[in-house]
């Protein structure tokens, strides 16, 4: 059974990774032998300078999902490369590093830092974090998306993946802009802008007022966006959006995704990415599918 997939020049032994910001403290809580089974690890987004994140409360439970407004708390690129990257490299599976610049130049500087650090399989450009108080996200503007992807692509020694926002009128337009700028793949989708109000206090529950919705609540919308984008672009799609089990991941693969990322499910079931991987293999065995490529984009209607 062949379940390996490629994005640009990067090869992954299977199509399952974790969504950025949902997997941490690997060494303390996880069985590394299990983690090594994943196709790739995608750590939390790194910015050029350290960020302390948004005021609490940062999360709230919603029907079949959650809102978060963490605000990209991270040690900054230098801190990440010094304190976190060595342990991540040691795990020995491909790393997809998520980066976020506040300007085009910051994206370039981040790219240069990871070019120098080495040991990375791909860069994922976070063009779509909804929690940083920006009026318009890069991924809400096809021209800006094109510009950032092109700038990074020009200097990156790694394949470049653009992580896009679902809060757009036409996802295919943005995905196309990324493809035309030379992106090796797109990640679909980041969280949906959302809020929950405490009616007793007449105040938003989150310290940041608004947040991003994730979990099974967004899955059908995410599946639809992957389906729509896959029809319009040729580069691979990493799909995410409420994948809790293998069947959810298979929906995205059938809709046209090449890889899948398990995100919010990690918070409920730390074994979810492995359960998804095992479930995909079981589905292939049961349906006598020899190559994962037979599933990707295999929608029959």
């Amino acid at each position: 059974m062949n379940i390996s997939v490629t994005i640009g020049s990067a090869t992954f032994k299977n199509p399952v990774t974790v969504a950025s910001g949902t997997f941490g403290h690997t060494e303390k809580y996880y069985d590394l032998e299990e983690v090594k089974q994943l196709g790739a690890l995608t750590p939390k987004t790194v910015t050029l300078k350290a960020r302390e994140g948004n005021p609490p409360p940062r999360i709230v439970e919603t029907p079949s999902g959650m809102l978060n407004a963490i605000g990209i708390e991270n040690p900054g690129a230098d801190g990440f490369i010094r304190t976190k990257l060595p342990a991540l490299k040691k795990i020995g599976i491909p790393l997809i590093i998520s980066i976020l610049g506040h300007t085009d130049n910051e994206f370039e500087l981040l790219t240069e830092k990871f070019n120098a650090a080495g040991g990375v399989s791909a860069l994922e450009l976070n063009l779509s974090c909804p929690n940083l108080g920006k009026a318009v996200l890069v991924a809400q503007d096809p021209l800006a998306t094109h510009r950032v992807v092109k700038a990074v692509k020009k200097i990156s020694r790694y394949p470049v993946i653009a992580k896009l926002a679902p809060n757009v009128t036409d996802i295919t337009e943005i995905a196309k802009a990324a493809e035309e700028a030379g992106a090796d793949g797109v990640s679909l989708v980041n969280t949906f802008s959302a809020m929950v109000i405490d009616v007793k206090k007449r105040a938003s529950v989150l310290g940041n007022v608004t947040g991003g919705l994730s979990g099974p609540a967004i899955r059908p919308m995410a599946v639809h966006m992957v389906y729509a984008a896959a029809k319009k672009i040729k580069i691979p799609i990493i799909a995410m959006g409420g994948i809790m089990a293998a069947e959810d991941a298979l929906q995205f693969l059938i809709a046209g995704a090449t890889m899948v990322a398990v995100g919010t499910a990690n918070f409920i079931n730390p074994r979810a990415p492995l359960d998804v991987l095992e479930g995909i293999k079981a589905y292939m065995r049961k349906n006598k599918i020899k190559d994962i490529k037979e599933i990707i984009g295999s929608l029959r209607n």
């Binding site: 910001g21 949902t22 997997f23 941490g24 403290h25 303390k28 809580y29 996880y30 069985d31 299990e34 983690v35 939390k44 302390e52 994140g53 005021p55 609490p56 409360p57 940062r58 999360i59 709230v60 439970e61 919603t62 029907p63 079949s64 999902g65 959650m66 978060n68 963490i70 708390e73 979990g215 099974p216 809790m244 919010t264 990690n266 918070f267 409920i268 079931n269 730390p270 074994r271 492995l274």
Partner: protein, 264 residues
Amino acid sequence: MRKIQGIYKVASNEKLCPKFYRLCIDAQPIAKKVLPGQFIHIRTKDGFEPFFRRPFSVYRAKKHVEVFYEVVGPGTKIMSHMAKGDDIDVLGPLGTPFTFPPKGTKQVVMVAGGIGIAPFLMLSDVLCRERATALRGAELILLYGGRTRGHVYPMKEFKENGCQVHVATDDGSVGTKGRVSELFPKIHADRKTTFLYTCGPAPMMASVQAFAKKHGLHGEAACEEVMACALGACLGCSIKTTKGYKTVCCDGPVFDLHEVIFNH
């Protein structure tokens, strides 16, 4: 993953007073490892309603892992209907435990508000043992504040551990009338020999912090925040401290009393 996740059996589930319940879980691997102040993260039900797991301080870990809880929302409501023999999905033990009072401590005071009493029985179990050695001759005191009579239960295990128990209720239906701060005169405020622990609503812990600051006392606070992963991954449960944002799940739930900024 496997290291910390297990499906266990409910051993018992009982209502101790109108507001509080005790759930006992047959979870030997956790009972053997857990330290006072640590917590477990319970999935109350398969499916996605409620969506998050729920974190609970370990109330006691002897034969079973015990959880002391109040029904406040959908998760604890489901828990209140659990019965002996039911499966329960638990992550744990998690978080940073309490540290022990320094040598020479003569009075250990636990200040609890409502369900904030949850981490203190196990702490008192360990402190009680320590009184035979490092804490010889030290007094153990529990100052407990509840809203009404419904929030008060006998607390006989604390008494068996040699704790002096003092109770205040907001409406005066049991013990002293007023907030738990009405009981602060019981504290022998000596900076070298008194050590404080507190757990409860933020305003209550803020009052303990202010008292400690005024008298130069040291102590620790067990904090609470809504949690998703409880593994330090999502950074969702961060609270403000004098050293920046810290996660309640990994950096805490126990923090230095003077480090937490309660009124953010």
